[in-house]
Point group: C2
Chain length 301, copies 2
């Protein structure tokens, strides 16, 4: 079933203890699309400036990623991010942020995308997420990400958004901030009361937690790959594989959500094994299936 | 199959945010025996002074706990511990420690215990653990606990012990200290090279990790009970249920170890739900089975 992602496309410069990756392709919608494309066709909605050195058609060659919704603005500059990860890779510092085209009007959803059934709204202003969602006719399952600045900001837009989405995918600090609860299970309950039917809390090295309105819960440890070279895009790769698997199966019951979350964990573990998109670009669906079976053996009893 | 535990028996005074439990029964062998007795007969080896106000026969009434190895020293005083847990229950502070009888000669293994097949050596000086183990004729599976002071101390005894046990059950800080590795998977590998066939690392709220010499690994999240009133004895209850389940099944292959670890997690979650032994004393094997199924649903996909 059709899967639409809307999010950033950026030029990243990333420094980790393993080295520096200068002016590489990044952005939430890029990682998401790459990860989701292992499972289902993806429709990408995003905007870049004329300075963007990457040919996205080439980046996604051989993958079913529809770029009809890619807008190139001649007078604008592409979003840029420069960041550094500390030794334990859990702390990251933004060295430089140039919103550029992201500070302008958002892209318009092309008519061809209007019938999208699965939708992922990557992190941006909730008002913008709502505006984009409003252009989709009859979505079946909508997931969104958000971050601390939108939670701390005027909460009205976020409140409205939470009532219109099916799943919120956030990290543990954001879950605590949004719910005002330190215990993550209680935090999830509070967030479920705000609207979404499912909340997925990413806990980094501690894995993830998923709670459903009906009371179902699921805990999954992170997959510890031997080496983490660049954590950038881990969350978006996780969301991409998760949503990709759901869209592929056209279902969203809790058992399928559990499996989808496991695929998200597996694909994220590949994404962080190398800089930029290299970790995802170098694998096949078979590699994902093999690691999925390892994760199952590692966690099931 | 016969399961022997040797460890402390103490009089505890515990303060947590939920209240104070004064002069209650505690000690590693007590929690271990209570937990293990849900699965298999237990042989307890320990020593108390004449001041001990508890009738252990009464404490274990209706449970198959053999007290032949309980020594009461008329001229001695029982081990006492006073501790306080902070708000998050992860940090604990020892307010007062009186080794008393634990500073004297260890108890002697009675002849009836000599044929024990499963053995748990709770935390104490490695030299003492070795001495006790030396009195068991042909153990099938020996597990031990240790702590930072023995790891930091003269390492020779611990080195010898590690070569004579099948499983080491320790917490994550101890695993890092013992291996000099910050990554827990690497820490486990280093510890496996020191001798034991299996290492089980308890990570508190993050669950546990088990690694086997053959390369098999298992990750299990902690079971988050609604309330944690008193974490004392969590580790020993965990070890008790784990060893009890292995002894009950008379096997120690990795699949059975995985299930045993899940039972350990479940029983520990009951132990910490109330002060002292109340959490364990008030449940049945059926309660354990129900929560075991919940844990399976919560973690398997």
């Amino acid at each position: 079933m059709s899967l639409l992602v809307t999010g950033s496309i950026g030029i990243d410069t990333v420094t980790t203890p393993y080295g520096v990756s200068e002016n590489c392709l990044g952005g939430s919608s890029i990682y998401f699309s790459m990860a989701a494309s292992f499972f289902t066709p993806v429709r990408l909605l995003g905007v870049i400036g004329s300075d963007c050195p990457f040919d996205l058609a080439e980046v996604f060659a051989g993958r079913d990623v529809d770029l009809t919704g890619l807008e190139v603005r001649e007078q604008s500059k592409t979003f840029r991010w420069k960041g550094t990860y500390g030794d334990n890779m859990d702390q990251r510092q933004t060295d430089c942020l140039e919103l550029n085209v992201l500070a302008e009007a958002p892209p318009t959803v092309p008519p061809e995308y209007g019938d999208s059934k699965f939708v992922f709204l990557a992190n941006t202003a909730p008002a913008l997420q709502l505006k984009l969602l409003g252009q989709i006719e009859k979505p079946v399952f909508v997931a969104a990400d958000t971050m601390d600045c939108w939670i701390k900001g005027p909460p009205d837009d976020l409140k409205v958004l939470l009532k219109r989405i099916d799943a919120l995918i956030i990290n543990e600090d954001e879950a605590r901030l949004l719910s005002n609860q330190s215990n993550l299970l209680r935090a999830a309950d509070v967030i479920l009361d705000m609207g979404p039917g499912v909340v997925i809390v990413k806990k980094g090295e501690s894995g993830s937690l998923m709670c459903e309105k009906g009371g179902e819960k699921f805990l999954l440890p992170a997959f510890r790959a031997a080496e983490v070279k660049d954590p950038t895009g881990a969350g978006d790769s996780f969301a991409g594989a998760l949503m990709g698997y759901l869209a592929q199966n056209e279902k969203t019951d809790f058992d399928l959500l559990k499996t989808a979350l496991a695929y998200g964990t597996v694909v994220a573990s590949f994404a962080i094994a190398d800089f930029s998109l290299k970790g995802l670009a170098s694998i096949t669906r078979d590699d994902i299936e093999s690691r999925f079976e390892i994760l199952r053996k590692l966690t099931n009893f």
